[in-house]
Symmetry: C2
Subunit: 392 residues, 2 copies
DNA sequence: TACTGTCCCTAAACCGGTTCAGTAAACCGG
DNA sequence: CCGGTTTACTGAACCGGTTTAGGGACAGTA
């Protein structure tokens, strides 16, 4: 009965398809379903399911026959249907508030993804990148089919955080530990920034330019006006962004050395080579003539080096440059970049491990908060401050 | 998990009973389903579905009420269930035969992904990266839930190609047009390689080292032994890989100039900075003393430059280096890299557009084959060949 | 003989949505 | 007052699997 009805439908569907194609073509074969295999093998759907998932529940002979019938038909269990019944997708989401195209142009993110991918692969999970769809991160989150989410660069203010929590989706935050009830992985940004600043102070620098990573706001209706202006001190006070933590580190050291870094000394740009170059140029045009640059990403530092050379400065004789992250490339530019190393790959891998632990254990687990170390790597892009008066 | 499900059921039963009795404890809230919303709003499941997907089929009043009940319950349609009925996932797969961790360390791939992500976002699709799971690409493909696949670096020999075709999954090939029945996007690798080689020949170079991209084989049982040895001429003859096409271009030019590039002049390595460095070192240790390096990727070229400097060579006075791809970084290394530009972002975007066209139009469409141009960008990493006899 | 336990397999319920086919009520022109 | 539309909504089938609960055959035991 059920069979008769189903057959009827199929026949109709096939006819429609053939009509579309003008008929007469080789059968545009419909993907076989479990019922087709069952019929062909003369067993129940259950048996077919067992043959794939728990063969020990069938006699070896039956299991083998079912599998060979399935192979013959080219049958593959539909993964979506499987997800539905198992209520697991074996997929992890990587959530970023920025467009994927922006993300992939950032070498830091590539490094992070490497760590994420390595751990996910090892543990048998697939990866799904979640970023704003039609400008809405919420929409993308709602549409995505993942067992959990690694959120990077997502601060507590983002409304999506609430949505994810509401959906009961396990989440691990990276570079933010604002939400104590979610596990998190951060690095000691402030200490790293201090180390970088102390290095410059020790070399005699007192006139420094900070290249901050601009924090893109994607909120659909929200004011986005901060395109170029740096985050003000007030803003940084209440937000615990990476930028804020690093800036605090820089500032503390220079204040101790008797020179304040004020808002004019901080300029924001995209975390890319071009973004760093543009930011440096902007500062230069505004008349800033620093003896050193503290960039919050290596990509920006590299862009700044190129831009500095373009206005005739030698590195490190005329101007010193310090980066942040220690991406692979940092050692290969000329001069090799002095930078703050952070274990980016490990950050990704640890986040995934934390996330999967949460997904796989049913009992509510205490969130863990990891803080990984940073350390200064001195290469050749930094040197003694040029003698005063010869700043140009 | 079995236990978990059973628990879930009991919980549901209990909750139903509690609801009947009118008493309710604060529950470990289960995610609400469409039936919960329907009951709460006093309508059918169908009506709830309409409220979300075709509100015009309901009175404004009813639609509004349903939505607000849904909001109150925190209801979100389960995307997996939706995929199942609609038989669409609105997700595109990016298929690579290499591990994701390897892929992300390749700047070329980042650039490609940028293009892919941009186009996918514009057209409302999500992105799912598919790479070998537990060493099996076939397993990963079988498990993935996508409407179509962009395959990069996948040659016709890969058995997965057959699997994908068998599954009836739309696919676009990038950097391979071996399979005429699938759309493809390639660049004119051979012409690009010729241009690079001609540039070197014109500068007087006759002793050149080629850094080839090693083509990782992932076939589970297959021989993998080619770790370091370059692809032999015979192998390259039958395969139409990128490496093969570029090598053919290099060879043709040098043969015309009277110097053959033989297998000893070709060394393979990973398409990363370190891979290029290692390959150069290997060649150097084997006694090769070329006046120029033709690298098949910019990352390898940059690694080779660093390695060359490490053995005391100046660039371009002692040795010239030409890359391939023209990644953003190429202009920023020192000296700026002479390289063959290819429109990598566009390649990704075009592939996605072709794929989505195929997915969205019901009628079988003719596959399209795009071939994008390449062009040589001369910067400062190449110069005249050093006078003979002073090759060291 | 009756009871118990295994082994192998199946019918039916279920996952959480969408969609088909239809129905009751309101509307509408003649 | 009547047949014909529209409007607003619903019950049941369906997407393609997995899992629960249990049935029949057969062997072993009391």
């Amino acid at each position: 009965m059920e069979r008769a009805q189903r057959g009827d439908r199929l026949e109709r569907a096939d006819r429609a398809r053939q009509a579309e194609l003008g008929g007469g073509m080789s059968p545009p074969r419909r993907r076989p379903r479990i019922a087709d295999v069952a019929r062909e093998a003369g067993v129940s759907k259950t048996a077919v399911s067992f043959a794939f998932n728990s063969p020990e529940r069938l006699s070896a002979e039956t299991a083998g026959r079912i599998r060979s019938v399935a192979d013959g038909l080219g049958y593959r269990p539909n993964p979506v249907a499987r997800m539905l019944t198992q209520r697991r997708t074996m997929t992890l989401g990587v959530l970023t508030p920025q467009a994927l195209a922006v993300i992939f142009s950032n070498p830091f993110f590539a490094l992070f993804s490497e760590g994420v991918a390595q751990a996910a692969e090892d543990l048998g999970y697939e990866l799904h990148f979640i970023s704003p769809l039609h400008g809405s991160l919420a929409l993308a989150v709602g549409r995505s089919t993942v067992d959990g989410v690694v959120a990077i660069g997502l601060s507590a203010e983002h409304p999506e955080v609430e949505q994810i929590r509401g959906a009961g989706l396990p989440m691990v935050l990276v570079d933010s530990d604002d939400l104590p009830e979610h596990s998190s992985v951060v690095v000691d940004d402030e200490a790293g920034a201090r180390a970088a600043a102390e290095h410059l102070v020790a070399l005699g620098h007192r006139n420094v330019l900070v290249l901050a990573v601009e924090e893109a706001e994607e909120s659909p209706g929200g004011a986005l006006a901060r395109d170029t202006h740096p985050p003000t001190t007030a803003e940084l006070g209440r937000s615990e962004s990476v930028t804020a933590r690093r800036l605090r580190g820089y500032r503390a050291v220079f204040e101790e050395a008797g020179t304040a870094i004020d808002d004019d000394d901080v300029i924001a740009g995209r975390a890319s080579i071009d973004g760093g170059g543009a930011a440096f140029q902007r500062a230069w045009r505004l008349g800033r003539r620093p003896t050193a640059v503290l960039a919050m990403s290596d990509a920006m530092a590299i862009g700044a080096m190129t831009a500095a050379r373009a206005v005739g400065l030698r590195i490190p004789e005329d101007i010193s440059v310090v980066g942040f992250d220690d991406i692979d490339l940092a050692a290969h530019v000329d001069p090799p970049l002095t930078t703050v190393h952070q274990p980016v790959r490990q950050k990704g891998a640890d986040a995934v491990r934390l996330l999967i632990a949460e997904i796989e254990q049913r009992v509510a687990s205490r969130p863990e908060h990891l803080r990984l170390p940073t350390r200064l790597i001195v290469r050749s892009s930094t040197g003694p401050a040029p003698a005063a008066g010869r700043t140009r």
